[in-house]
Protein backbone atom coordinates (compact mmCIF):
# COMPACT_ATOMS: atom_id res chain seq x y z
CA UNK A 1 0.00 0.00 0.00
CA UNK A 2 1.59 3.22 -1.10
CA UNK A 3 -0.24 6.47 -0.70
CA UNK A 4 -0.15 8.93 -3.58
CA UNK A 5 3.03 10.95 -4.06
CA UNK A 6 1.22 14.20 -3.28
CA UNK A 7 0.00 12.87 0.05
CA UNK A 8 3.40 11.51 1.02
CA UNK A 9 5.08 14.76 0.05
CA UNK A 10 2.56 16.69 2.14
CA UNK A 11 3.26 14.49 5.16
CA UNK A 12 7.01 15.06 4.82
CA UNK A 13 6.45 18.82 4.40
CA UNK A 14 4.35 19.02 7.56
CA UNK A 15 6.83 16.91 9.49
CA UNK A 16 9.71 19.17 8.44
CA UNK A 17 7.71 22.26 9.38
CA UNK A 18 6.83 20.89 12.80
CA UNK A 19 10.46 19.91 13.38
CA UNK A 20 11.55 23.41 12.42
CA UNK A 21 9.01 25.04 14.77
CA UNK A 22 10.08 22.73 17.56
CA UNK A 23 13.76 23.49 17.10
CA UNK A 24 12.95 27.19 16.94
CA UNK A 25 10.86 26.96 20.10
CA UNK A 26 13.54 25.09 22.03
CA UNK A 27 16.28 27.34 20.71
CA UNK A 28 14.55 30.49 21.88
CA UNK A 29 13.10 29.20 25.16
CA UNK A 30 14.41 30.67 28.43
CA UNK A 31 16.88 28.70 30.54
CA UNK A 32 15.31 29.74 33.85
CA UNK A 33 16.63 32.21 36.42
CA UNK A 34 20.30 32.74 35.78
CA UNK A 35 21.33 34.73 38.83
CA UNK A 36 19.98 36.17 42.05
CA UNK A 37 19.31 39.79 41.47
CA UNK A 38 17.82 42.64 43.26
CA UNK A 39 14.16 42.72 41.94
CA UNK A 40 14.49 46.40 41.06
CA UNK A 41 17.67 45.70 39.08
CA UNK A 42 16.10 42.65 37.45
CA UNK A 43 13.24 44.83 36.17
CA UNK A 44 15.80 47.09 34.50
CA UNK A 45 17.66 44.17 32.94
CA UNK A 46 14.65 42.45 31.36
CA UNK A 47 13.95 38.78 30.69
CA UNK A 48 17.04 38.20 28.58
CA UNK A 49 19.35 38.70 31.53
CA UNK A 50 17.16 37.36 34.35
CA UNK A 51 15.44 34.34 32.74
CA UNK A 52 18.14 33.46 30.22
CA UNK A 53 15.56 34.19 27.54
CA UNK A 54 16.75 34.44 23.95
CA UNK A 55 16.65 37.83 22.28
CA UNK A 56 15.01 36.10 19.36
CA UNK A 57 11.22 35.73 19.62
CA UNK A 58 9.90 32.19 19.59
CA UNK A 59 7.32 30.72 17.22
CA UNK A 60 4.51 31.25 19.68
CA UNK A 61 5.17 34.97 19.94
CA UNK A 62 5.42 35.32 16.18
CA UNK A 63 2.25 33.27 15.76
CA UNK A 64 0.42 35.46 18.23
CA UNK A 65 1.64 38.56 16.42
CA UNK A 66 0.59 37.16 13.07
CA UNK A 67 -2.90 36.45 14.45
CA UNK A 68 -3.06 39.94 15.89
CA UNK A 69 -2.18 41.42 12.49
CA UNK A 70 -4.63 39.17 10.70
CA UNK A 71 -7.41 40.13 13.10
CA UNK A 72 -6.80 43.82 12.51
CA UNK A 73 -4.96 44.22 9.20
CA UNK A 74 -6.17 47.66 8.22
CA UNK A 75 -5.90 49.87 11.31
CA UNK A 76 -4.27 53.24 10.87
CA UNK A 77 -2.87 55.04 13.88
CA UNK A 78 -0.74 57.64 12.20
CA UNK A 79 2.28 57.38 9.90
CA UNK A 80 4.29 55.13 12.20
CA UNK A 81 1.64 52.60 13.11
CA UNK A 82 -0.42 51.16 10.31
CA UNK A 83 -1.79 47.63 9.92
CA UNK A 84 0.16 45.12 7.86
CA UNK A 85 -2.77 44.93 5.43
CA UNK A 86 -2.45 48.63 4.60
CA UNK A 87 1.30 48.34 4.16
CA UNK A 88 0.89 45.31 1.88
CA UNK A 89 -1.77 47.12 -0.13
CA UNK A 90 0.67 49.99 -0.75
CA UNK A 91 3.42 47.59 -1.85
CA UNK A 92 1.13 45.54 -4.07
CA UNK A 93 -0.26 48.71 -5.67
CA UNK A 94 3.26 49.97 -6.45
CA UNK A 95 4.31 46.62 -7.84
CA UNK A 96 1.08 46.41 -9.83
CA UNK A 97 1.44 49.84 -11.44
CA UNK A 98 5.15 49.53 -12.19
CA UNK A 99 4.71 45.99 -13.46
CA UNK A 100 1.79 46.78 -15.75
CA UNK A 101 3.64 49.77 -17.19
CA UNK A 102 6.57 47.45 -17.84
CA UNK A 103 4.27 44.94 -19.60
CA UNK A 104 2.91 47.73 -21.79
CA UNK A 105 6.44 48.73 -22.83
CA UNK A 106 8.31 45.41 -22.81
CA UNK A 107 5.88 43.28 -24.83
CA UNK A 108 5.63 45.61 -27.87
CA UNK A 109 9.39 46.25 -27.88
CA UNK A 110 10.00 42.53 -27.46
CA UNK A 111 7.74 41.93 -30.47
CA UNK A 112 9.70 44.45 -32.49
CA UNK A 113 13.03 42.87 -31.53
CA UNK A 114 11.72 39.39 -32.22
CA UNK A 115 10.29 40.26 -35.63
CA UNK A 116 13.04 42.51 -36.94
CA UNK A 117 16.61 41.24 -37.05
CA UNK A 118 17.71 44.84 -37.64
CA UNK A 119 16.11 46.16 -34.45
CA UNK A 120 17.32 43.10 -32.61
CA UNK A 121 20.94 43.91 -33.46
CA UNK A 122 20.45 47.66 -32.98
CA UNK A 123 18.88 47.44 -29.52
CA UNK A 124 21.03 44.59 -28.25
CA UNK A 125 23.90 46.72 -26.85
CA UNK A 126 21.48 48.93 -24.90
CA UNK A 127 19.74 45.95 -23.37
CA UNK A 128 23.03 44.27 -22.54
CA UNK A 129 24.24 47.37 -20.68
CA UNK A 130 20.97 48.27 -18.96
CA UNK A 131 19.96 44.77 -17.90
CA UNK A 132 22.70 44.11 -15.30
CA UNK A 133 22.19 47.44 -13.51
CA UNK A 134 20.74 46.87 -10.05
CA UNK A 135 17.32 48.51 -10.10
CA UNK A 136 18.14 50.34 -6.86
CA UNK A 137 21.02 52.13 -8.59
CA UNK A 138 18.33 54.07 -10.48
CA UNK A 139 16.82 55.28 -7.19
CA UNK A 140 18.85 58.50 -6.68
CA UNK A 141 18.35 59.49 -10.30
CA UNK A 142 14.63 58.77 -10.02
CA UNK A 143 14.30 60.76 -6.81
CA UNK A 144 16.21 63.66 -8.35
CA UNK A 145 14.17 63.78 -11.56
CA UNK A 146 10.71 62.63 -10.41
CA UNK A 147 10.95 64.37 -7.01
CA UNK A 148 8.42 62.00 -5.50
CA UNK A 149 9.47 59.00 -3.42
CA UNK A 150 6.41 56.90 -4.14
CA UNK A 151 6.65 57.44 -7.90
CA UNK A 152 10.37 56.69 -7.73
CA UNK A 153 9.60 53.31 -6.17
CA UNK A 154 7.16 52.61 -9.00
CA UNK A 155 9.83 53.60 -11.52
CA UNK A 156 12.30 51.20 -9.94
CA UNK A 157 9.74 48.38 -10.19
CA UNK A 158 9.12 49.33 -13.80
CA UNK A 159 12.79 49.22 -14.72
CA UNK A 160 13.47 45.90 -12.99
CA UNK A 161 10.40 44.17 -14.50
CA UNK A 162 11.25 45.34 -17.99
CA UNK A 163 14.19 43.14 -19.00
CA UNK A 164 13.05 39.57 -18.39
CA UNK A 165 9.75 40.27 -20.15
CA UNK A 166 11.39 42.03 -23.08
CA UNK A 167 14.01 39.34 -23.60
CA UNK A 168 11.51 36.49 -23.28
CA UNK A 169 9.03 38.14 -25.61
CA UNK A 170 11.74 38.72 -28.20
CA UNK A 171 12.88 35.13 -27.88
CA UNK A 172 9.35 33.73 -28.07
CA UNK A 173 8.49 35.83 -31.11
CA UNK A 174 11.72 34.96 -32.93
CA UNK A 175 11.23 31.26 -32.20
CA UNK A 176 7.75 30.98 -33.74
CA UNK A 177 7.86 27.95 -35.99
CA UNK A 178 8.63 28.72 -39.62
CA UNK A 179 5.79 26.45 -40.80
CA UNK A 180 3.14 28.42 -38.88
CA UNK A 181 4.39 31.61 -40.48
CA UNK A 182 4.35 29.86 -43.87
CA UNK A 183 0.72 28.90 -43.24
CA UNK A 184 -0.07 32.57 -42.61
CA UNK A 185 1.82 33.58 -45.75
CA UNK A 186 0.04 31.10 -48.01
CA UNK A 187 -3.27 32.35 -46.59
CA UNK A 188 -2.24 35.95 -47.38
CA UNK A 189 -2.73 36.99 -43.75
CA UNK A 190 -1.82 40.65 -43.15
CA UNK A 191 0.92 41.78 -40.77
CA UNK A 192 -1.38 42.83 -37.94
CA UNK A 193 -3.60 39.76 -38.13
CA UNK A 194 -0.50 37.57 -38.30
CA UNK A 195 0.90 39.20 -35.16
CA UNK A 196 -2.30 38.62 -33.20
CA UNK A 197 -3.46 35.26 -34.54
CA UNK A 198 -0.18 33.43 -35.14
CA UNK A 199 2.75 35.02 -33.35
CA UNK A 200 0.99 36.07 -30.13
CA UNK A 201 -0.59 32.68 -29.37
CA UNK A 202 2.58 30.85 -30.42
CA UNK A 203 4.83 33.04 -28.25
CA UNK A 204 2.37 33.43 -25.34
CA UNK A 205 3.83 30.67 -23.15
CA UNK A 206 7.33 32.17 -23.46
CA UNK A 207 6.02 35.70 -22.86
CA UNK A 208 4.14 34.57 -19.75
CA UNK A 209 7.27 32.83 -18.47
CA UNK A 210 9.09 36.15 -18.76
CA UNK A 211 6.22 37.88 -16.95
CA UNK A 212 6.46 35.32 -14.17
CA UNK A 213 10.19 35.94 -13.73
CA UNK A 214 9.50 39.69 -13.71
CA UNK A 215 6.83 39.60 -11.03
CA UNK A 216 9.22 37.63 -8.81
CA UNK A 217 11.98 40.20 -9.28
CA UNK A 218 9.54 43.09 -8.76
CA UNK A 219 8.42 41.65 -5.45
CA UNK A 220 12.05 41.18 -4.37
CA UNK A 221 12.92 44.75 -5.28
CA UNK A 222 9.88 46.51 -3.78
CA UNK A 223 10.95 45.60 -0.22
CA UNK A 224 14.40 47.09 -0.72
CA UNK A 225 13.00 50.13 -2.55
CA UNK A 226 10.52 50.88 0.24
CA UNK A 227 13.25 50.59 2.86
CA UNK A 228 14.94 53.42 0.98
CA UNK A 229 12.00 55.67 0.18
CA UNK A 230 10.14 55.07 3.44
CA UNK A 231 6.69 56.29 4.37
CA UNK A 232 4.50 53.33 3.50
CA UNK A 233 4.74 49.78 2.24
CA UNK A 234 5.81 46.44 3.63
CA UNK A 235 9.50 47.24 3.09
CA UNK A 236 9.15 50.39 5.15
CA UNK A 237 7.23 48.37 7.76
CA UNK A 238 10.17 45.94 8.11
CA UNK A 239 12.67 48.78 8.50
CA UNK A 240 10.43 50.70 10.89
CA UNK A 241 9.96 47.66 13.11
CA UNK A 242 13.72 47.11 13.06
CA UNK A 243 14.11 50.66 14.36
CA UNK A 244 11.48 49.83 16.96
CA UNK A 245 13.53 46.71 17.78
CA UNK A 246 10.39 44.63 17.34
CA UNK A 247 11.94 41.47 15.96
CA UNK A 248 8.57 39.72 16.27
CA UNK A 249 7.07 42.16 13.81
CA UNK A 250 10.07 41.83 11.50
CA UNK A 251 9.70 38.05 11.37
CA UNK A 252 5.95 38.38 10.90
CA UNK A 253 6.55 40.71 7.97
CA UNK A 254 9.08 38.28 6.46
CA UNK A 255 6.50 35.49 6.59
CA UNK A 256 3.86 37.72 5.02
CA UNK A 257 6.24 38.86 2.25
CA UNK A 258 6.95 35.23 1.42
CA UNK A 259 3.28 34.32 1.28
CA UNK A 260 2.35 37.25 -0.97
CA UNK A 261 5.31 36.50 -3.26
CA UNK A 262 4.15 32.92 -3.56
CA UNK A 263 0.60 34.04 -4.36
CA UNK A 264 1.81 36.40 -7.11
CA UNK A 265 3.92 33.64 -8.61
CA UNK A 266 1.01 31.20 -8.53
CA UNK A 267 -1.28 33.66 -10.32
CA UNK A 268 1.24 33.97 -13.17
CA UNK A 269 1.76 30.21 -13.20
CA UNK A 270 -2.01 29.75 -13.65
CA UNK A 271 -2.06 32.26 -16.48
CA UNK A 272 0.87 30.49 -18.14
CA UNK A 273 -0.97 27.20 -17.99
CA UNK A 274 -3.98 28.89 -19.56
CA UNK A 275 -2.10 29.90 -22.72
CA UNK A 276 0.11 26.82 -23.01
CA UNK A 277 -0.92 24.50 -25.83
CA UNK A 278 -0.05 20.83 -26.08
CA UNK A 279 1.84 19.85 -29.22
Amino acid sequence: MTASLTLRAAIVSIALFVAFLLAWHIGTAGTGAVADMDPEYAKLMGATATQGKSAMPGPLEVGAKLLEHLRQPFYDKGPNDKGVGIQLAYSIARVGIGYLLAVAVAVPIGFLIGMSPLMSRALDPFIQVLKPISPLAWMPLALYTIKDSSLSAIFVIFICSLWPMMINTAFGVAAVRREWLDVARTLEVGVLRRAFTIILPAAAPTILTGMRISIGIAWLVIVAAEMLVGGTGIGYFVWNEWNNLSITNVITAIVVIGLVGMALDQILARLTRLVTFPE
Binding site: T186, L187, E188, A202, F277, P278
Partner: protein, 301 residues
Protein backbone atom coordinates in the same frame (compact mmCIF):
# COMPACT_ATOMS: atom_id res chain seq x y z
CA UNK B 1 0.81 21.76 -75.19
CA UNK B 2 -2.26 23.88 -75.72
CA UNK B 3 -3.38 24.35 -72.14
CA UNK B 4 -0.66 25.87 -70.02
CA UNK B 5 -2.54 26.43 -66.77
CA UNK B 6 0.71 26.40 -64.85
CA UNK B 7 3.90 27.16 -66.67
CA UNK B 8 7.29 26.94 -65.02
CA UNK B 9 9.58 28.93 -67.29
CA UNK B 10 13.30 28.46 -66.99
CA UNK B 11 13.57 28.77 -63.23
CA UNK B 12 16.90 28.39 -61.43
CA UNK B 13 17.86 28.40 -57.79
CA UNK B 14 21.37 29.24 -56.67
CA UNK B 15 22.82 29.59 -53.22
CA UNK B 16 25.95 31.55 -52.42
CA UNK B 17 28.79 29.26 -51.42
CA UNK B 18 32.54 29.67 -50.79
CA UNK B 19 33.26 28.51 -54.34
CA UNK B 20 31.04 31.14 -55.95
CA UNK B 21 27.48 29.88 -56.19
CA UNK B 22 25.98 26.43 -55.89
CA UNK B 23 23.29 25.77 -58.45
CA UNK B 24 20.59 23.48 -57.14
CA UNK B 25 18.84 23.46 -60.49
CA UNK B 26 18.65 25.74 -63.49
CA UNK B 27 16.73 26.16 -66.71
CA UNK B 28 13.80 24.12 -65.49
CA UNK B 29 10.68 24.10 -67.66
CA UNK B 30 7.37 22.39 -67.01
CA UNK B 31 3.78 22.97 -68.07
CA UNK B 32 0.69 21.60 -66.37
CA UNK B 33 -2.89 21.36 -67.60
CA UNK B 34 -5.92 22.32 -65.56
CA UNK B 35 -7.17 19.40 -63.48
CA UNK B 36 -3.96 17.47 -63.90
CA UNK B 37 -2.23 15.55 -61.13
CA UNK B 38 1.57 15.75 -61.38
CA UNK B 39 3.97 13.95 -59.08
CA UNK B 40 7.67 14.78 -58.81
CA UNK B 41 10.12 12.04 -57.93
CA UNK B 42 13.80 12.49 -57.27
CA UNK B 43 16.40 11.91 -54.62
CA UNK B 44 16.81 14.23 -51.63
CA UNK B 45 18.71 17.40 -52.48
CA UNK B 46 17.52 17.63 -56.07
CA UNK B 47 15.50 20.74 -55.29
CA UNK B 48 11.98 19.30 -55.46
CA UNK B 49 10.91 21.12 -52.32
CA UNK B 50 12.43 24.34 -53.64
CA UNK B 51 10.38 23.98 -56.83
CA UNK B 52 7.26 23.49 -54.72
CA UNK B 53 8.09 26.47 -52.52
CA UNK B 54 8.59 28.61 -55.61
CA UNK B 55 5.20 27.46 -56.90
CA UNK B 56 3.73 28.32 -53.50
CA UNK B 57 5.40 31.73 -53.57
CA UNK B 58 7.24 31.00 -50.31
CA UNK B 59 10.57 31.03 -52.14
CA UNK B 60 11.73 33.00 -55.16
CA UNK B 61 13.64 31.61 -58.13
CA UNK B 62 17.08 33.11 -58.79
CA UNK B 63 16.13 33.23 -62.45
CA UNK B 64 13.03 32.59 -64.51
CA UNK B 65 9.41 32.79 -63.49
CA UNK B 66 6.29 30.76 -62.96
CA UNK B 67 2.98 31.66 -64.57
CA UNK B 68 -0.26 30.42 -63.11
CA UNK B 69 -3.50 30.99 -64.99
CA UNK B 70 -1.93 33.82 -66.99
CA UNK B 71 -0.31 35.60 -64.07
CA UNK B 72 3.28 35.49 -62.88
CA UNK B 73 3.73 34.40 -59.27
CA UNK B 74 4.75 37.34 -57.10
CA UNK B 75 4.35 35.74 -53.70
CA UNK B 76 2.11 33.40 -51.74
CA UNK B 77 -1.51 33.40 -52.78
CA UNK B 78 -4.80 31.92 -51.65
CA UNK B 79 -5.08 30.48 -55.15
CA UNK B 80 -2.33 28.02 -54.30
CA UNK B 81 -2.88 25.92 -51.20
CA UNK B 82 -0.02 24.06 -49.59
CA UNK B 83 -0.30 20.79 -47.70
CA UNK B 84 2.81 20.64 -45.54
CA UNK B 85 4.70 17.45 -44.81
CA UNK B 86 4.57 18.26 -41.10
CA UNK B 87 0.86 19.18 -41.41
CA UNK B 88 1.65 22.62 -39.81
CA UNK B 89 -1.60 22.86 -37.86
CA UNK B 90 -1.93 25.63 -35.30
CA UNK B 91 -1.86 23.65 -32.03
CA UNK B 92 -3.81 26.25 -30.04
CA UNK B 93 -6.81 25.95 -32.37
CA UNK B 94 -9.28 23.11 -32.63
CA UNK B 95 -9.82 21.16 -35.86
CA UNK B 96 -12.63 23.44 -36.97
CA UNK B 97 -10.65 26.46 -35.73
CA UNK B 98 -7.77 25.55 -38.01
CA UNK B 99 -9.99 25.13 -41.05
CA UNK B 100 -12.04 28.23 -40.17
CA UNK B 101 -8.84 30.28 -39.91
CA UNK B 102 -8.12 29.52 -43.55
CA UNK B 103 -11.74 30.10 -44.58
CA UNK B 104 -11.92 33.49 -42.86
CA UNK B 105 -8.60 34.44 -44.48
CA UNK B 106 -10.07 33.67 -47.88
CA UNK B 107 -13.45 35.35 -47.37
CA UNK B 108 -12.81 38.16 -44.94
CA UNK B 109 -16.32 39.58 -44.99
CA UNK B 110 -18.08 36.33 -44.16
CA UNK B 111 -19.99 36.06 -40.90
CA UNK B 112 -18.81 33.63 -38.24
CA UNK B 113 -21.66 31.22 -38.96
CA UNK B 114 -20.93 31.29 -42.68
CA UNK B 115 -17.26 30.51 -42.03
CA UNK B 116 -18.20 27.73 -39.67
CA UNK B 117 -20.63 26.10 -42.08
CA UNK B 118 -18.11 26.23 -44.91
CA UNK B 119 -15.34 24.79 -42.70
CA UNK B 120 -17.68 22.05 -41.49
CA UNK B 121 -18.39 21.01 -45.08
CA UNK B 122 -14.70 20.32 -45.70
CA UNK B 123 -14.20 18.60 -42.36
CA UNK B 124 -17.02 16.25 -43.35
CA UNK B 125 -15.41 15.78 -46.77
CA UNK B 126 -12.18 14.44 -45.27
CA UNK B 127 -14.11 12.23 -42.85
CA UNK B 128 -13.42 14.08 -39.61
CA UNK B 129 -17.04 14.77 -38.62
CA UNK B 130 -17.28 14.36 -34.86
CA UNK B 131 -13.70 15.46 -34.20
CA UNK B 132 -14.28 19.18 -34.92
CA UNK B 133 -13.54 20.34 -31.41
CA UNK B 134 -10.44 18.27 -30.77
CA UNK B 135 -7.05 19.91 -30.57
CA UNK B 136 -4.35 18.75 -33.02
CA UNK B 137 -2.46 17.17 -30.09
CA UNK B 138 -5.39 14.81 -29.54
CA UNK B 139 -5.34 13.56 -33.14
CA UNK B 140 -3.37 10.76 -34.76
CA UNK B 141 -0.88 11.58 -37.53
CA UNK B 142 -3.38 10.56 -40.21
CA UNK B 143 -6.14 12.70 -38.74
CA UNK B 144 -3.80 15.70 -38.50
CA UNK B 145 -2.97 15.36 -42.17
CA UNK B 146 -6.70 15.12 -42.95
CA UNK B 147 -7.14 18.47 -41.23
CA UNK B 148 -4.28 19.81 -43.36
CA UNK B 149 -6.07 18.57 -46.48
CA UNK B 150 -9.39 20.05 -45.34
CA UNK B 151 -7.69 23.38 -44.65
CA UNK B 152 -6.09 23.39 -48.09
CA UNK B 153 -9.31 22.42 -49.89
CA UNK B 154 -11.52 24.79 -47.90
CA UNK B 155 -10.04 27.87 -49.53
CA UNK B 156 -11.01 26.40 -52.93
CA UNK B 157 -7.58 26.91 -54.47
CA UNK B 158 -6.68 26.67 -58.14
CA UNK B 159 -3.83 24.31 -57.30
CA UNK B 160 -2.94 22.08 -54.42
CA UNK B 161 0.75 21.82 -53.64
CA UNK B 162 1.76 18.83 -51.57
CA UNK B 163 5.22 18.27 -50.14
CA UNK B 164 5.46 14.59 -49.27
CA UNK B 165 2.18 14.84 -47.42
CA UNK B 166 1.97 11.19 -46.42
CA UNK B 167 5.61 10.32 -45.80
CA UNK B 168 5.27 10.53 -42.00
CA UNK B 169 2.27 8.19 -41.90
CA UNK B 170 2.06 4.43 -41.50
CA UNK B 171 1.33 2.39 -44.63
CA UNK B 172 -2.33 1.73 -43.85
CA UNK B 173 -3.20 5.36 -43.12
CA UNK B 174 -1.19 6.46 -46.12
CA UNK B 175 -3.25 4.19 -48.38
CA UNK B 176 -6.55 5.53 -47.02
CA UNK B 177 -5.46 9.13 -47.43
CA UNK B 178 -4.21 8.49 -50.96
CA UNK B 179 -7.68 7.15 -51.78
CA UNK B 180 -9.27 10.25 -50.24
CA UNK B 181 -7.02 12.67 -52.08
CA UNK B 182 -7.59 10.87 -55.35
CA UNK B 183 -11.35 10.83 -54.86
CA UNK B 184 -11.46 14.52 -53.92
CA UNK B 185 -9.22 15.61 -56.79
CA UNK B 186 -11.30 13.65 -59.30
CA UNK B 187 -14.57 14.96 -57.89
CA UNK B 188 -13.51 18.58 -57.77
CA UNK B 189 -11.25 18.59 -60.84
CA UNK B 190 -8.46 19.92 -58.65
CA UNK B 191 -5.06 20.59 -60.17
CA UNK B 192 -2.39 19.06 -57.96
CA UNK B 193 1.37 19.11 -57.75
CA UNK B 194 2.87 16.61 -55.35
CA UNK B 195 6.34 15.66 -54.25
CA UNK B 196 6.85 12.09 -53.20
CA UNK B 197 9.48 9.44 -52.63
CA UNK B 198 6.99 6.64 -53.00
CA UNK B 199 6.93 5.21 -56.54
CA UNK B 200 3.66 3.33 -56.00
CA UNK B 201 2.02 6.44 -54.63
CA UNK B 202 3.07 8.37 -57.72
CA UNK B 203 1.75 5.70 -60.08
CA UNK B 204 -1.55 5.48 -58.21
CA UNK B 205 -2.19 9.22 -58.07
CA UNK B 206 -0.46 10.93 -60.93
CA UNK B 207 -1.41 11.60 -64.52
CA UNK B 208 2.20 12.47 -65.21
CA UNK B 209 5.30 11.75 -63.17
CA UNK B 210 8.23 14.13 -63.38
CA UNK B 211 11.67 12.59 -62.82
CA UNK B 212 14.48 14.75 -61.51
CA UNK B 213 18.18 13.89 -61.47
CA UNK B 214 20.41 14.26 -58.44
CA UNK B 215 21.48 17.70 -57.28
CA UNK B 216 23.37 19.95 -57.32
CA UNK B 217 22.75 20.93 -60.94
CA UNK B 218 19.63 18.82 -60.93
CA UNK B 219 17.70 18.48 -64.16
CA UNK B 220 14.12 17.71 -64.96
CA UNK B 221 15.13 14.61 -66.90
CA UNK B 222 11.96 13.03 -68.12
CA UNK B 223 8.20 13.13 -67.90
CA UNK B 224 6.50 9.78 -67.58
CA UNK B 225 2.95 9.73 -68.91
CA UNK B 226 1.09 7.34 -66.70
CA UNK B 227 -0.31 4.68 -69.06
CA UNK B 228 -2.79 3.39 -66.48
CA UNK B 229 -6.43 4.37 -67.04
CA UNK B 230 -7.76 7.36 -65.10
CA UNK B 231 -10.31 5.11 -63.43
CA UNK B 232 -7.80 2.97 -61.61
CA UNK B 233 -8.53 1.07 -58.43
CA UNK B 234 -5.97 0.51 -55.73
CA UNK B 235 -6.83 -3.19 -55.40
CA UNK B 236 -6.27 -3.95 -59.09
CA UNK B 237 -3.64 -1.46 -60.09
CA UNK B 238 -0.73 -3.88 -59.67
CA UNK B 239 -2.41 -6.39 -62.05
CA UNK B 240 -2.53 -3.90 -64.90
CA UNK B 241 -0.28 -5.13 -67.72
CA UNK B 242 1.61 -1.85 -67.87
CA UNK B 243 2.03 -1.34 -64.10
CA UNK B 244 5.41 -2.99 -63.79
CA UNK B 245 6.70 -1.37 -66.93
CA UNK B 246 6.05 2.04 -65.36
CA UNK B 247 7.31 1.00 -61.97
CA UNK B 248 10.52 -0.55 -63.32
CA UNK B 249 11.16 2.46 -65.51
CA UNK B 250 10.94 4.83 -62.55
CA UNK B 251 12.99 2.62 -60.27
CA UNK B 252 15.67 2.20 -62.94
CA UNK B 253 15.78 5.94 -63.16
CA UNK B 254 16.11 6.41 -59.40
CA UNK B 255 18.70 3.67 -58.98
CA UNK B 256 21.01 4.35 -61.92
CA UNK B 257 19.96 6.98 -64.43
CA UNK B 258 19.45 9.78 -61.89
CA UNK B 259 23.20 9.64 -61.24
CA UNK B 260 24.46 9.01 -64.74
CA UNK B 261 22.06 11.28 -66.57
CA UNK B 262 24.82 13.74 -67.43
CA UNK B 263 26.65 11.08 -69.46
CA UNK B 264 23.39 10.01 -71.08
CA UNK B 265 22.64 13.49 -72.36
CA UNK B 266 26.25 14.05 -73.39
CA UNK B 267 25.66 11.31 -75.95
CA UNK B 268 22.23 12.25 -77.28
CA UNK B 269 21.73 15.89 -76.32
CA UNK B 270 19.21 17.50 -73.98
CA UNK B 271 16.71 20.29 -74.47
CA UNK B 272 15.42 21.44 -71.07
CA UNK B 273 12.44 23.13 -72.74
CA UNK B 274 11.35 19.92 -74.43
CA UNK B 275 12.25 17.01 -72.22
CA UNK B 276 11.46 13.50 -73.27
CA UNK B 277 7.94 12.24 -72.56
CA UNK B 278 7.95 8.52 -71.90
CA UNK B 279 5.09 6.01 -71.92
CA UNK B 280 6.72 2.91 -70.51
CA UNK B 281 5.41 -0.32 -71.98
CA UNK B 282 3.87 1.31 -75.04
CA UNK B 283 5.86 1.11 -78.23
CA UNK B 284 4.83 3.97 -80.42
CA UNK B 285 7.20 4.29 -83.31
CA UNK B 286 10.33 3.03 -84.87
CA UNK B 287 12.27 5.81 -83.18
CA UNK B 288 12.17 3.72 -80.02
CA UNK B 289 14.71 1.39 -81.47
CA UNK B 290 17.27 3.58 -79.70
CA UNK B 291 16.25 2.09 -76.37
CA UNK B 292 14.92 -1.36 -77.11
CA UNK B 293 16.11 -2.68 -73.77
CA UNK B 294 13.92 -0.29 -71.79
CA UNK B 295 10.88 -0.99 -73.91
CA UNK B 296 10.13 2.66 -73.59
CA UNK B 297 8.41 4.88 -76.08
CA UNK B 298 10.19 8.22 -76.27
CA UNK B 299 8.62 11.09 -78.07
CA UNK B 300 9.28 14.80 -78.22
CA UNK B 301 6.71 17.31 -77.13
Amino acid sequence: MADRFISIEGIARRYPSPAGATTVFEDLWLAMRRGEFVCVIGHSGCGKTTVLNILAGLDRPSEGSVIVDGQAIEGPSLDRAVIFQSHALLPWRSVIGNVAYAVSSRWRKWSASQVRAHAQRFIDLVGLAGAEHKRPAELSGGMKQRVGIARALAIEPKIMLMDEPFSALDALTRGTLQDEVRRICLETGQTAFMITHDVDEAIYLADRIVLMTNGPDAKLAEIVENPLPKSRARAEIHRHPLYYAVRNHIIDFLVTRSKSFAEEIAAKGFDPRNVAVVRPGIIESAADAEHPARLAGVSRL
